[in-house]
Amino acid sequence: MIVAERKSIPEMVDILQSYKKILVLGCGTCVTVCLAGGEREVSIISSALRIAVRMKGLELKIDELTIERQCDNIFIEQAAEAIHNADAVLSLGCGAGVQAIAERYPDKPVYAGLNTKFLGILEERGVWTEKCSACGSCVLNEYGGICPVTRCAKRMLNGPCGGSREDRCEARPDLPCAWQLIFKRLKDIGQLDRLEKITMPKDWSSSLSGGSRKIIREDHRI
């Protein structure tokens, strides 16, 4: 799931204060689950914005809408009327959602209300952790299902680095050492011999360093 976090209210007011009518547009998928941009957050953030603009003596009408998915044209259509009626859109979707809306409505200013953080999971109530960097060529099979690219601060493919203390990362003591986790996991599933193999440097061209990525499935194209 994509995990995001809201921007501060003063930051949003700064962006929006020149408009008369805006639409706060939520997304019902990932950002709803990470409590950043779903229907409830749209309501709370709109309310806080209304209070903030009134405190500044500004006139700003704020409409609220949440669609199922901002990164899908079929769902974006459902917001067409509301977007048309607004001077600008404050999207509470992830970065993909904001760009999808902006591409679909070229003459409408679209702003991001969230900071998109990472691909992660819900660790416990109110805690999300990063698990995947979307590097484009997955190495999880080699490391017992624990990603050294994301979870090792040094991104080491032939770890451990030797700097960890107990089972904690040298760079960030609040993080568990990914290589400690990999070792334990491979031991538990009887695949410790995988660590005897030296892994060659990773081809990062499939990652972001090769520019933004695209997938084409000819069998699904019309």
């Binding site: 409830r40 806080a48 209304r50 209070i51 009134r54 500044k56």
Partner: protein, 149 residues
């Protein structure tokens, strides 16, 4: 009535199992407390969401108090802890929006503590009276008559 005629309106979200009963008890004991509060009974303070507090301010409240059970004695085990966290988050949002956070607070009071309830109400009314009217509403409609069911 104060010199400038400002009487704050305080919305009090009261838990059915404690603060609401305490308010009832205060009434039975004939204890006096300021009539500035508008009590809303809730099944548990854990039922309250952040937007309830925000909307109360948007719609003209000068202050909001959330009164739940004593910590550790919630009827639903942890509802008042949830409420406490939500009140704290709402306070953060209010602070970001420029409104004084003292206008919103959480209190804990047991059903047997009628006197404690009146003290809590007196305290929030005094705090908000000192802060002055909510800057969100310059003009308020005066309620001329109570609407009876």
């Amino acid at each position: 009535m104060t010199e400038n005629g400002f009487e704050p309106i305080i919305v009090a979200f009261c838990c059915h199992y404690c603060a609401y009963s305490a308010a009832d008890l205060a009434g039975s004991m004939r204890l006096q407390y300021p009539p500035n509060i508008r009590i809303i009974r809730t099944p548990c303070t854990g039922r309250l969401e952040v937007e309830y507090f925000m909307r109360a301010f948007e719609n003209g409240a000068d202050g909001v108090i959330v009164a739940g059970c004593e910590e550790g004695s919630c009827h639903f085990k942890e509802g008042n802890y949830n409420a406490k966290r939500r009140v704290n988050y709402a306070r953060q949002l209010l602070s970001e929006s420029g409104l004084e956070i003292e206008r919103l607070r959480m209190a804990n009071v047991s059903a047997a503590n009628g006197r404690g309830f009146t003290e809590i109400i007196k305290d929030i009314v005094e705090t908000v009276r000192k802060l002055g009217p909510s800057p969100l509403h310059h003009e308020k409609k005066q309620i001329k008559q109570e609407i009876l069911p």
